[in-house]
């Protein structure tokens, strides 16, 4: 469906600003009289607060104020929940324990704020921390998901009977019956461990309360400016319109920046109102690891039942999910795990159970993938164990079980994060598998190359996995498209941007409809002063949902332009068309009127207008899908393992991905590669590690290792398959998280293949060379 600009690889509108250092990020915001905030945080993960003495800290020159929970009084209370409980799922149990903005009486995670310091600059604020004396009585901490549910375990929330935060069971068909009839049943305990968003830019907030105008302006690195504005306004007893949230350029979101009602956005606005001075808070890297959310961290007891021909009869998965000390984001992550465990396969019987557990670690909320990688990891590992057991090729066992094209739309019988039954809307899964095998030359590698290498003692392995990606979920987004007097176009939408390229792709959509240059479309995102209805940037929904709203609005403006243009040119509507930023008479381009002039004429300052007609060349439109569109794909990689040192080199990586209609192939490739990069991190590098006392051991980039550009595969092939989604007019599906979802599973399969003589059954991610060596030491050699 490529057009003049839609579907083209157009370089980004925003790049000249970003690359020349002109783009404004949160720490560039300077306001007269601005003060700086710092949080004094608990070292202990679980403790009772006896006393916090800030009197000495208050005396330090340059310190303006120091606040503890007492100083906020009733203002400090938990919550609210950012995502509602899963009442749509029958029989579900959910204990809502939203985040506390500052610790009161009890500390539940290491890094929980105990005091807020406001000073002339951040240096002095940190100096003041040395003067705070906190008397904390440490309590035993819970960190092990299974031990946390044993009777007698220390309770994170003492008003509950146990640390069980939620219990959700879903089933389609009947697994036990299916398993009874199976030739093979494989059971495995599988671990997916924790990783961070680790955006290049940490979080930040600047609050300015104009006491005389009674208006608050907030700059925030948020993926959800509108919910943030609404929650702040409500909490302060202000009209929503009195609060404006603006997102500057943001250096990466990846999920954690969707959170609202966190210590900073709860406490700093009220402090700004008290002190009547602007306040800035910029998170440092250690705080980001300690007190910004991260994700993964599940233990699965998974089973698969198959016939001896490798046909899946059923899958069962009972899993523990760590929500951390609080559960403000509801069940989003584990629900995604549930919907993605059956993924792209024909699985007639599926039982899945979430046991969500409170622990003394920080909160788990979506990080790129948001629960999907865990589900896919479990499914792909089960298929690999089954393939080993049955002596089948891993690609073949997948081919036999993939859902065929004819099955769409395919109701999954499993309710997802949007609280409706997940329906796979469209796709061609077998084709993605076939094509990725072609691209990586699977047959040739297996039959010719690998045997020769093995004879030489080399350990190269190949992995192939399939996956789906639920995207573009509701509820809705909106957009307003306006043609200005200068003939250029403004697009405003409620979601914000963290580097995905919205300033370009939304411009492409509008430009395609209005016949203007992509460079002449100014896109405004994440400013509640410009657009104030919407939910936010998450679940890879920017393109599918907000993009569709932009399209719908642009179509309306186009119609209006033709309608008005025809009238102003004195012809009928079917005689005009758009050409180069003008409305022209078909066949007679000399009779035309530039869009800017039409816009001006459509907004008279005198005279009358026709009833029912809205002024200007502008339209607002909304879009909300009945359920999310599902992208899918297959990935393959070839790894080379040094069998002595366990150093792993990914030589070649291929992904064939279907995200429906492609808007900008250049940007798409960047998104996919970025996701793959994170997936490689989740496979072999990145691990948020807490010790048994809830102490975070990886709070710097020295210890939380991110693969660098120099660690990425030398050869990466990204291909697209386009099966347009029937859920929106342009047929778009999301793609932001695609690369991160299947990569760890593919990596493990490739490692098992490389170290074939050990017949490994890798049941955890991430690994590292030391752990891989341990697994090899423990394996009986073939």
């Amino acid at each position: 469906m490529a057009g003049r600009v839609f579907g083209q690889s157009i370089p980004r509108n925003e790049d000249p600003y970003l690359l020349t250092g002109q783009a404004k990020f949160i720490d560039d915001i300077e306001l007269p009289g601005m003060l700086h905030a710092a949080f004094y945080r608990s070292d202990y993960a679980h403790a009772r607060i006896k006393k916090i003495d800030v009197s000495e800290a208050r005396k330090l020159p340059g310190v303006i104020a120091v606040y503890t929970a007492e100083d906020f009084g009733e203002f400090v209370r938990p919550g609210p929940l950012q995502v509602p409980p899963p009442t749509a799922i029958k029989g579900s149990i959910f204990h809502a324990r939203p985040l506390m903005p500052i610790a009161k009486d009890k500390v539940r995670y290491s890094g929980e704020p105990l005091a807020v310091i406001i000073a002339e600059n951040r240096y002095i604020a940190e100096d003041a921390m040395d003067y705070i004396v906190a008397e904390l009585e440490p309590l035993p901490a819970v960190t092990d998901l299974e031990k946390a549910l044993e009777p007698g375990a220390p309770l994170v929330h003492e008003d509950l009977e146990s640390n069980l935060a939620a219990l959700v069971k879903q089933e389609r068909g009947n697994y036990e019956e299916a398993a009874a009839k199976a030739d093979v049943v494989i059971k495995k305990k599988i671990y997916v461990d924790r990783g961070a968003g680790a955006a290049m830019e940490n979080r930040g907030l600047v609050v300015n309360w104009d006491d005389r105008a009674r208006e608050m302006t907030i700059w925030a690195t948020t993926q959800a400016p509108i919910p943030l504005r609404n929650s702040i306004a409500t909490r302060l007893g202000l009209f929503e319109e009195q609060v404006r949230v603006i997102t500057p350029f943001i250096g990466g979101g990846f999920g954690p920046k969707i959170m609202t009602s966190q210590p900073d956005d709860v406490l700093l606005p009220i402090i700004a109102m008290w002190l009547k001075r602007p306040i800035k808070w910029i998170e440092d890297r250690r705080e980001n690891f300690l007190a910004t959310t991260s994700e993964r961290d599940q233990i699965h007891y998974a089973e698969i039942a198959l016939t001896r021909d490798g046909i899946i009869l059923g899958v069962k998965d009972v899993f523990y999910h760590n929500t951390g000390a609080y559960d403000p984001y509801g069940m989003t992550v584990p629900l995604n795990t549930q919907t993605h465990t059956v993924s792209c396969y024909e699985v007639p019987n599926f039982y899945t159970e979430i046991r969500m557990v409170f622990t003394n670690e920080y909160v788990v909320t979506p990080v790129r993938g948001a629960g999907r990688p865990e589900g896919v990891f479990v499914m792909e590992r089960l298929l690999d164990y089954a393939a080993q057991e049955l002596g089948m090729d891993p690609a073949e066992i997948r081919r036999r079980n993939l859902l065929r094209k004819e099955r769409f739309p395919y109701p999954t019988g499993i309710i997802g994060q949007d609280f409706v039954e997940g329906v796979l809307d469209s796709g061609d899964y077998p084709e993605t598998l076939r094509r990725v095998m072609e691209v990586i030359e699977y047959e040739k590698f297996r039959k010719e190359i690998q045997p020769q290498l093995r004879a030489q003692g080399k350990h190269k392995g190949i992995g192939i996995v399939c996956f789906t990606e639920g995207t573009a979920v509701g509820p809705y987004e909106g957009a307003r498209v306006t043609v200005g007097a200068n003939g250029k176009v403004t697009v405003a939408t409620g979601i914000s941007t963290q580097g995905q390229g919205h300033f370009t792709v939304f411009a492409q959509i509008a430009a395609e409809q209005l016949g203007v240059d992509v460079k002449d479309v100014n896109v405004i995102t994440g400013d509640t002063g410009h657009f104030h209805w919407g939910a936010g940037t998450f679940a890879s929904r920017g393109m599918g949902v907000a993009g569709t709203a932009v399209y719908n609005a642009a179509v309306k403006v186009r119609q209006k332009a033709l309608q008005f243009g025809a009238r102003f040119l004195g012809v009928s509507e079917d005689e005009v068309e758009l050409c180069d930023g003008k409305v022209c008479v078909k066949g007679d381009p000399s009779r035309s009127m530039p869009l800017g002039e039409i816009a001006l004429k459509a907004n008279p300052t005198r005279g009358t207008i026709e009833p029912g007609v809205e002024p200007g060349l502008e339209a607002t439109a909304y879009f909300g899908p009945p359920y999310g569109a599902t992208g899918a794909g297959a990935v393959a990689m070839i790894v080379d393992v040094d069998p002595e040192t366990m150093a792993v080199n990914i030589e070649k990586f291929a992904i064939v991905h279907d995200c429906g209609t492609v808007v900008n192939p250049l940007l798409l490739e960047g998104q996919v590669m970025g996701g793959v990069h994170m997936g490689i991190g989740n496979a072999f590098y990145e691990k948020i590690k807490y010790d048994e006392n809830g102490q975070l051991l990886t709070a710097s980039l020295m210890d939380y290792l991110i693969p660098q550009a120099t660690d990425m595969p030398k050869e990466m092939i990204v291909e697209h398959l386009e099966t347009p989604s029937p859920l929106n007019p342009l047929g778009m599906k999301g793609v932001g998280e695609a690369g991160a979802i299947p990569t760890p599973a593919c990596f493990m399969q490739a490692l098992e293949d490389a170290l074939y003589e050990y017949r490994l059954q890798i049941d955890e991610t991430p690994l590292n060379p030391s752990r891989l060596w341990e697994l090899v030491q423990q394996a009986p050699k073939k």
């Binding site: 202990y44 250690r286 010790d691 006392n693 102490q695 051991l697 709070a699 210890d703």
Partner: protein
């Protein structure tokens, strides 16, 4: 982290025990100690300035002795808190008479480290802990030697408690040059973020 090991002291068990009861030796064995106050026979408190290489920090420490069986064994519970974080350790110490005039000290314990120290110092902790333990025992060896020599009536070996400045200055180890001198054994200590090790020593000294 787990800490365990052993060390042979060149002296009888009772002397080793007695040495540790000497308050002066107690003070010297706690590097960076500004003050070490005895609350009662089982409890001690003190402030410590610690430095190792470029890293430094101030901690306030609490020590408790438990499960004493003279002259065989006891358990030490140590806790230190400061801006860089906290350390809490529990160690079982056993003194075994080897029958040849020497005493084998065995220790096994568990240390919990938290705060900034734990979250950004993981790469350092293991090697620093080992280095400190090594130094601590070398210090105690000298202390024991000094006491035994004094008791035997040979030329007085002055075991001088390091001054505060010397503690603060304890970055470099001058053992090589100091060891062979008879007149004065100058002690320079490594300062340690891991109080527990020091405290283990402190406990031994508390009796």
């Amino acid at each position: 982290m787990q800490l365990e090991g052993e060390h042979v002291f060149k002296g009888p068990r009772e002397e080793v025990y007695a040495m540790f009861r000497d308050p002066e030796v107690l003070a010297t064995a706690v590097p960076g100690a500004q003050s070490l106050t005895k609350i009662d026979d089982q409890h001690f408190e003190g402030a410590m300035n610690i430095r190792i290489g470029p890293v430094s920090g101030s901690f306030s420490g609490k020590v408790e002795v438990a499960n004493e069986v003279y002259p065989e064994k006891f358990t030490l519970i140590v806790e230190g808190r400061g801006a860089p974080g906290f350390a809490k350790g529990m160690g079982d110490v056993e003194l075994i008479d080897q029958g040849d005039g020497t005493t084998l000290l065995k220790y096994s314990g568990d240390v919990q480290i938290g705060g900034t120290l734990a979250s950004v110092g993981q790469r350092m902790i293991d090697s620093v802990a080992k280095s400190i333990i090594k130094t601590a025992f070398e210090t105690l060896d000298k202390a024991l030697e000094a006491r035994l020599a004094a008791k035997a009536g040979s030329a007085p070996v002055e075991f001088k408690a390091p001054t505060e400045a010397e503690f603060a200055a304890a970055v470099t180890k001058d053992m090589a040059s100091g060891l062979s001198k008879v007149a004065e054994v100058r002690m320079l200590f490594y300062v340690i973020p891991l109080i527990v090790v020091l405290v283990i020593v402190a406990y031994l000294l508390s009796h």
